[in-house]
């Protein structure tokens, strides 16, 4: 679904050029669950931003469904960003003063979607948050906030979920729940999930692991990276 060829991203800061990405080649298809690992500053977030159309490569080629994204206008990029991708951040990034339902409606508003209420409610049901529909972010626990954020990214039925350390602020049990949710999305809906994490246990949920260093991919377990890692037997299921 996405193909990156020799993608670089150079930040020019105060006369000094920082190569956040130094030639990345990567291909990810529908239904893949990819973990991206690497030391701090290795370019993981930069890669996620470029894949999610929040940022543009300095050089190199990015094909989305076979089409060069550089050819898209800014408006098309914005629309695609909302329709094809779902972002999940470590810090949830919910809007204050908005109920859970309104948070999930937000991307649908920008898609000018019909039936926003129902679709948002459905997305909340999918993450098991139907009982907190009218809650504000400060009335929710960290895990609950993250599940609302995931519901928000699912509301538009994205092709790919981009999760940048989604469990970084959560305890292991809550983190495990989020990971099982991702696994479910991958297996039942064919969503591609790209997950940045520092924790090896979290990475084991993914079927494919990519390691980065200094803006380069130094290791890729590949698409046929063995059987999907499943959650420990005791914690799986509902």
């Amino acid at each position: 679904m996405i193909i990156l060829r020799d993608v670089t991203r150079v930040y020019a800061t105060g006369g000094m050029a920082v190569r956040a990405l130094a030639g990345v080649n990567l291909e990810i298809d529908r239904g893949e669950f990819v973990a991206v690992m690497g030391r701090s500053g290795s370019g993981k977030s930069t890669l996620m931003n470029i894949i999610g159309l929040l940022d543009r490569p300095t050089t190199g080629e990015y094909l989305l469904a076979g089409r060069d994204v550089e050819r898209f206008t800014e408006d098309v990029r914005s629309r695609l960003r909302g329709a094809a991708f779902g972002f999940v951040f470590q810090s949830y990034n919910l809007l204050p003063r908005m109920t859970a339902l309104e948070q999930v409606e937000l991307p649908l508003i920008y898609q000018r979607a019909q039936d926003r209420r129902r679709r948002a409610a459905e997305a909340l049901v999918r993450v098991g948050m139907q009982h907190r529909i009218a809650h504000l972010p400060n009335e929710l626990s960290g895990g609950e906030q993250q599940r609302v954020a995931i519901a928000r990214s699912l509301a538009v039925n994205p092709l790919m979920l981009l999760a940048d350390e989604p469990t970084g602020a959560l305890d292991t049990a809550t983190g495990g729940e989020i990971m099982r949710l991702f696994t479910e999305l991958v297996e039942e809906r064919g969503v591609a999930v790209v997950l940045v994490t520092h924790e090896t246990e979290v990475a084991t949920y993914a079927r494919r692991t990519i390691r980065m260093r200094d803006g380069k991919i130094i290791e890729d377990s590949g698409k046929s990276g063995g059987p999907p890692a499943r959650a420990p037997a005791g914690a799986s299921g509902h």
């Binding site: 931003n49 999610g52 929040l54 940022d55 800014e74 408006d75 914005s78 629309r79 960003r81 909302g82 329709a83 972002f87 951040f89 810090s91 990034n93 919910l94 809007l95 003063r97 908005m98 937000l106 991307p107 508003i109 920008y110 898609q111 000018r112 928000r152 990214s153 538009v156």
Partner: protein, 418 residues
């Protein structure tokens, strides 16, 4: 994002910062309400002047001595002494058979104090002739107006305007009573017999507060009112023309006659029809409207700057929100729409409240005396429409730059900032 959704976001943001929003709108409220109130006063004043001129009936032409016109409005003694206009000019105009001229009356107005028993009132005394009643279309309620016989004999008689009569003789018929006229701050007091009281004119009618005496009566006491040639000086001659007469023709013929009589080529008089006076008054008050409107407009500008300032603060505060919205699919145009809608709502809210306040304030001061002058207001629909449009314009102008700033915020940087 649809406009309805943008408006929802706006309402949420405004309600989240209620006090700040109200204070922001206040600048626009003050600007809009002062534009409306000041324009209403200026327009009301014009309406008052126009009504007063129209109240004189139609077809009046005024010939005023240049000397009197430049000294004082009511024609104080100074203007009168220098006036080159004389009573026989009026007679000549009447005798010249200018087509369309119905009646001619010369007069001089003097400020006096009227005294009757214990009552007194300041009034403008119009020294004129019997024709004045016809020229000015004055109706007599009791007694009669000045008669040709009074003119002839220089009788010490006076006709009172309705309000002056009521003040001096409350509830009584003053005809036959004595009234004393005190000129020049009390240096000269003369006794007159009231021979008539005018019908109340009401509204803008100036005759209600005036008294009328024969020119000849006072001239017998004040010899300086005579020219060396034995003519009576006046400050103004009023000419009534018939309906449908070409007033410009009449003005021209009067002018030629007076130039001939005064043996000059440079007019020492000014001839104006009612329409001339109305358009002069309109011009003055339009200038006043524009002047007052622009002073108030400056406060509207200040209000707009306030809106812009708060919008810039709001954009800076909500950088993260903007980043999130961009990440979930908002185009930069969506962000512009959101912030322009917010600025527009703030200033239109201020505009609506300002219109209500300005209209209310205008109605509240209507008819009140301020500095001895009764304020008249006239709220013009166009001033409300203009204030509303300007408020909208202020909102657009004040919102555009902050919205542009919001739209160019780098979503990645905004999301990274915790």
């Amino acid at each position: 994002m649809s406009l309805i959704d943008a408006f929802r976001v706006t309402l949420r943001a405004i309600f989240a910062n209620r006090l700040r929003s109200v204070l922001t709108s206040l600048g626009v409220v003050i600007g809009v309400s002062s534009v409306i109130a000041l324009v209403a006063v200026a327009q009301g004043t014009q309406q008052g002047v126009t009504d007063r001129i129209r109240g004189l009936g139609t077809g009046l032409i005024f010939v005023e001595s240049s000397a009197a016109a430049t000294t004082s409005q009511t024609g104080g003694p100074a203007g009168l002494v220098q006036s080159t206009l004389v009573a026989s000019d009026a007679a000549a105009i009447a005798a010249d058979a200018i087509p369309g001229v119905i009646a001619v009356a010369a007069h001089a107005a003097v400020d006096t104090q009227l005294v009757a028993g214990a009552n007194n009132v300041g009034a403008t005394v119009v020294s004129t002739s019997s024709e004045y009643g016809e020229v000015r279309d004055l109706d007599v309620r009791s007694g009669s107006f000045i008669t040709p016989a009074h003119d002839e004999e220089g009788s010490m008689v006076a006709v009172l305007g309705a309000r002056a009569a009521e003040t001096l003789y409350p509830g009584a018929d003053p005809v036959g009573q004595q009234v004393r006229l005190s000129f020049a701050g009390g240096r000269l007091t003369l006794a007159f017999v009231v021979v008539g009281v005018l019908e109340e004119q009401g509204g803008a009618g100036e005759a209600d507060d005036q008294a009328f005496i024969p020119l000849t009566s006072i001239a017998n006491r004040l010899r300086f009112l005579y020219t060396p040639a034995g003519d009576l000086r006046v400050t103004q001659i009023d000419v009534r023309a018939a309906d449908g007469v070409d007033e410009d023709r009449v003005k021209e013929e009067i002018s030629e006659l007076l130039l001939f009589r005064h043996e000059t080529t440079e007019p020492d008089f000014v001839i104006q029809s009612q329409d001339d006076l109305i358009s002069a008054a309109t011009e003055v008050s339009n200038t006043l409207s524009i002047l007052l409107g622009s002073i108030a407009g400056i406060s509207l500008l200040v209000g707009g700057i306030g809106v812009m300032n708060i919008m810039l603060v709001s954009v800076a505060e909500r950088a993260r929100e903007i980043g999130i919205r961009r990440a979930v699919g908002a185009t930069s145009r969506d962000i512009v729409t959101q912030f322009v809608t917010e600025a527009l709502t703030l200033s239109l809210f201020g505009g609506v409240v300002g219109i209500a306040l300005g209209t209310g304030a205008s109605l509240a001061v209507d008819g009140r005396a301020v500095g001895g002058q009764e304020l008249a207001v006239l709220i013009q629909p166009w001033s409300i429409a203009a204030a509303f449009l300007v408020a909208a314009g202020v909102g657009l102008a004040a919102g555009s730059y902050p919205a542009y700033r919001a739209a160019t915020i780098d979503p990645i940087a905004a999301l990274r900032n915790e």
